[in-house]
Symmetry: C2
Subunit: 449 residues, 2 copies
C-alpha cells in the first residue's frame, strides 16, 4: 500500500496555534459585539438532509455541494442522503420552520460556523471556510434593517477595523432605475448585474456590457452621461425619482439613513447602483468596504422570501454576514506588521519552560510547575529527554519567556533559578517569591502590551 498523501485535502487548511488563536480572538470579539446588540447564538449540524439543500443555490451552486454517501448496506448504491452545510441561511430557514413559535419573534440570531463548497481553490478561496451571519426574522420594520447594519458596524469596530464605509441601497431603487432609463423589464436583471460591476470596470465598461446585453443605445448613452456626471449618484437619484417604485425605494433608503448615526464607527452612504448580485434580496441591501481591500468585508440585505422557504407562510427577514476569512487576512497582516518580522503573526509562548535534567528531579519540578500555574502562570515542563542545551533550544523554539532550573542545589535551598531568554539575565530566588517575580517581570515587558 503506498503511503497516503499527508497534506490536508485540496482547499482546506491545517491551522497552527497562531492561526487558531487569531481566529478564536476574532470570533470572540464578534460574538461579544453581536450579543451586546441582543443577537443570540444558535448552531446547526455540519450536515443537513440532502433535500434541505438542493434547489436552493442555483445550478452552479448545486454543483459545489459536498454530498455524503449513504452508510452501511446503502453505500454500494452510490447515492447521497446528506450534504455538508453550504451556507448559514438555509439552516436558519430550516430552524425557523422547525421551531417557529418556540422562538422569540422578532428572532435575532447569529451563527459563526464553517461551511463547505467544492469551489476551485485559489488564493484566499477555500473549500472549508468560516461564515458569520446575523439575521432578524419575523420583522418587516426598518428598525430591523438598522439593527443589522448597526451590529455589523459595531463588530467591525470591535475588530479594530476603522475607516469602513457602509454602502446602502434598496432593490426598489434599482427597479426604479431600470424603469427610469427605459430598460425593458426583461433585461432588468441583466442590466443590474452589469451595473453592479461599476466599481470594478468603470462607467465605460458598464456601458459596453449593457450594450452587449441588448440595452438600447439611447438608454446606455443616458446612463453613461449620468455615471460620468460631476455627482453621478445625485444624477442617478434624480432620474430614479421620476419612477413611482423608485421613489418608494428612495424613501426607504432615506428612512434607514435617518436611523443610522452618522460620524460613528463608519461612514454611511447611499449607493444607488449597489445591487449585491444575489437575486433573493427584496428590499434594503448593503455592503461594507474597507480601505485595505477592494472587495467588501461585509454585506447583506432584506430577503423576505427566503427564511419562510420551508414553512407555509413567508417570514420577513433581514440579515448580514461578515467576510470573516477576508477580515482574518487583514488582521493577520496587521499582526505580522506589528511583530515586524514579516513572517506572519506570532504568538507568545509559555511564561516559563521548566527543565528536567535528571528523571529523579521530575516529581519535584512538576510540583513547582503546578504551584506556579496555580498562581496564574503558563508553565510548560520539558517532557522529553535531553541535556540542558537541548532543553534551552526547545525553550527558544517555544518562545518561552523564562527557563526554570531546579537542580539539587536549588531544591536544597527551596529556591529556583530563572533565566529570561530575551535578556539572558539569570536570577536565583526563593521558590515562594518566584510567582510574584515572574508576574511582575511579565507585566513590565513591552512585548506583552
Amino acid at each position: 500500500m503506498p503511503a497516503p498523501d499527508v497534506s490536508p485535502p485540496s482547499g482546506t487548511r491545517d491551522l497552527f496555534p497562531a492561526d487558531v488563536l487569531l481566529r478564536r480572538r476574532t470570533f470572540r470579539a464578534v460574538q461579544e459585539a453581536f450579543e451586546r446588540h441582543g443577537f443570540e447564538p444558535f448552531d446547526t449540524p455540519a450536515f443537513e438532509r440532502l433535500e434541505v439543500l438542493t434547489g436552493k443555490y442555483g445550478e452552479e451552486g448545486e454543483q459545489l455541494i459536498f454530498r455524503i454517501l449513504r452508510r452501511g448496506d446503502h453505500a454500494a448504491s452510490g447515492e447521497a442522503d446528506l450534504a455538508l452545510r453550504y451556507d448559514l441561511t438555509v439552516p436558519l430557514a430550516r430552524l425557523v420552520a422547525r421551531y417557529g413559535s418556540q422562538l422569540p419573534m422578532p428572532f435575532k440570531r447569529y451563527q459563526i460556523a464553517n461551511v463547505w463548497r467544492a469551489d476551485r481553490p485559489g488564493r484566499g478561496r477555500f473549500r472549508e471556510f468560516t461564515q458569520c451571519d446575523i439575521d432578524i426574522a419575523g420583522s418587516a420594520s426598518p428598525v430591523a434593517d438598522a439593527s443589522v447594519v448597526l451590529a455589523i458596524v459595531d463588530a467591525l469596530a470591535a475588530l479594530g477595523l476603522p475607516g469602513t464605509t457602509v454602502h446602502l441601497n434598496d432593490r426598489d431603487v434599482l427597479h426604479g432605475l431600470v424603469a427610469a432609463y427605459g430598460i425593458p423589464e426583461a433585461l432588468a436583471n441583466s442590466a443590474l448585474t452589469a451595473l453592479d460591476k461599476l466599481a470594478r470596470i468603470g462607467p465605460d465598461g458598464v456601458a459596453r456590457e449593457l450594450a452587449g446585453r441588448g440595452v438600447a443605445a439611447d438608454a446606455v448613452a443616458q446612463l453613461l452621461a449620468d455615471l460620468t456626471a460631476a455627482d453621478p449618484d445625485a444624477a442617478i437619484v434624480a432620474r430614479v425619482g421620476s419612477d413611482a417604485r423608485g421613489r418608494e425605494g428612495l424613501d426607504r433608503v432615506a428612512a434607514l439613513l435617518a436611523l443610522l448615526p452618522q460620524g460613528g464607527d463608519a461612514d454611511v452612504v447611499h449607493d444607488p447602483v449597489l445591487a449585491r448580485g444575489l437575486g433573493y434580496y427584496t428590499g434594503m441591501v448593503f455592503e461594507v468596504t474597507h480601505p485595505a481591500l477592494e472587495a467588501s468585508i461585509a454585506g447583506g440585505g432584506r430577503y423576505d422570501g427566503l427564511v419562510g422557504m420551508f414553512g407555509a407562510e413567508p417570514v420577513p427577514a433581514v440579515g448580514g454576514s461578515l467576510g470573516l476569512e477576508r477580515i482574518l487576512l487583514i488582521l493577520a497582516e496587521q499582526a505580522a506588521g506589528r511583530a515586524g518580522d514579516g513572517e506572519g503573526s506570532v504568538e507568545p509562548g509559555p511564561d516559563v519552560l521548566a527543565t528536567v535534567l535528571d528523571p529523579a528531579d521530575a516529581a519535584d519540578v512538576l510540583a513547582v510547575a503546578g504551584r506556579l500555574r496555580a498562581a496564574g502562570l503558563t508553565v510548560d515542563v520539558f517532557a522529553g529527554e535531553g541535556r540542558m542545551k537541548k532543553q534551552f533550544r526547545h525553550a527558544d523554539r517555544r518562545r518561552a519567556r523564562f527557563v526554570l532550573v531546579r537542580g539539587d542545589s536549588e531544591r536544597a535551598a527551596a529556591s529556583v533559578t530563572l533565566k529570561e531568554l530575551a535578556t539572558g539575565e539569570q536570577t536565583t530566588l526563593p521558590e515562594v517569591d518566584a510567582a510574584r517575580f515572574l508576574l511582575e517581570s511579565l507585566a513590565n515587558d513591552p512585548r506583552e502590551t
Copy 2:
C-alpha cells in the same frame, strides 16, 4: 415536491443559545487549562482524504465513517474520495507526518473539534459530537505521561468537577497478569476484555465471561479468589509481581504515581485490571471517573505505534481525551439544578430591552441604545412592530432584566424610564445617569453572582 423534513439529521442537534453558551464556556475553560500546561492548539479540516482514514478503525469503525461523494463529473461514479473526521488521533498522526521537523519536539498539542460517526443514535450518543484530545508526541519519558494526566485533572478541576479519581495501569501489568494466572497468550486479549468489564458486571460476571471465552477452570478460580479477596488490588498486584514483564509494568506505574501529587484535585489510584479496551495502547493507560456518572469522563494512555502511522519511523506518544459530551451533560444538569426550574440550563437575557412605540422614535431609541452599549451594557432594541404590551411580553420572553421606555416626555426631558422586570420597579432618570444606574443594579443582583 413534498416539504422536506425540517428536523436536524438523525443523531445531530440544533443548539439553542443556552447550549451554545454552555459549550463555549466549557471549551474555553478547558483551553485555558491546557494552555497553562504548555499545550498548543492545532486544528485540522473537517474532512480528510478517504485513504487517510481507511484501515485505521477496524472493520466495525470503518462502517461508521461518513464518506463524501466525488464532485462534478465524478459524482455519477458513486465513489467517495473524502471522509468526515472520525477522531482526532488520525489527523494528529497526519499532522506529525506532514510537518515533522517544523514542530517543536516533544510536540504538545490539543484539539477540541467535532467528529462524525454513523453510529446508531441513542440517549447521549450522537453522530456529530465534540472530542477534546491532548497529546505529547516525540517523548517516551514518564514526564510526558504525567504531564498528560496532570493537564486532564487540571482541566476537570477548572470545570468545577471535584471528587474525580484517576485510575492508572500499564499494559505490561496486564500482560503480566495474564501470564501470572496461566492464561495462554492466545486468549490474552479476550481475557482482558472480560476483565475490563469488572466495574460493570462484578467478579462473578467476569469469571463467567472468562470461562465462556475458554480460560481454564483453575485460572478462573484463582482470579475469582483474588477479585473477591479483602483487598483485591493487592492480591492481583502480588500475583502480577511473579511475572518479569508484569514487574516492569508495576515499576512504571509506581514511577508515574511518584510523579503525580496526591491529595490535589483528584485521587490517583492503581487499578491493576484497567485495560481501556482499545488495543493500540502500549504502556500507561488511565481513566478518570466522577461520582455523578458510572462511565469515565476522561481517559487515555501511551500508544507508541500510532502517531507514526504515516511516517517512516515510529513516534512515541501519549495522550488523553476528555469525554466532553458526558461532561456537558453533568454541567447542564448542575446548571439546571441551580436554576431550580428543572427545565435545563437557562441563560440570562439582555440587560435592557429598549421599546420602540412609534416608528418616529426609532432613531432616538437606537442612539440611546448605542450609548448604553458603549458603556458596556447588552441592549436589545425591539425590532418588530407592536404595542407596548407585546413589547413587554417579548422582554419577558427574552429574559431581559430591564425594559427601557423613551417616549416624547422622556425625550423632551433627556431622560429614560427603566422598569426592572423581576421587581416591577420603575424609575425615570436622566439619560446620562442611566448606564451607571443599570450597571449598579445588575452588579447587585443575586442572579448574576
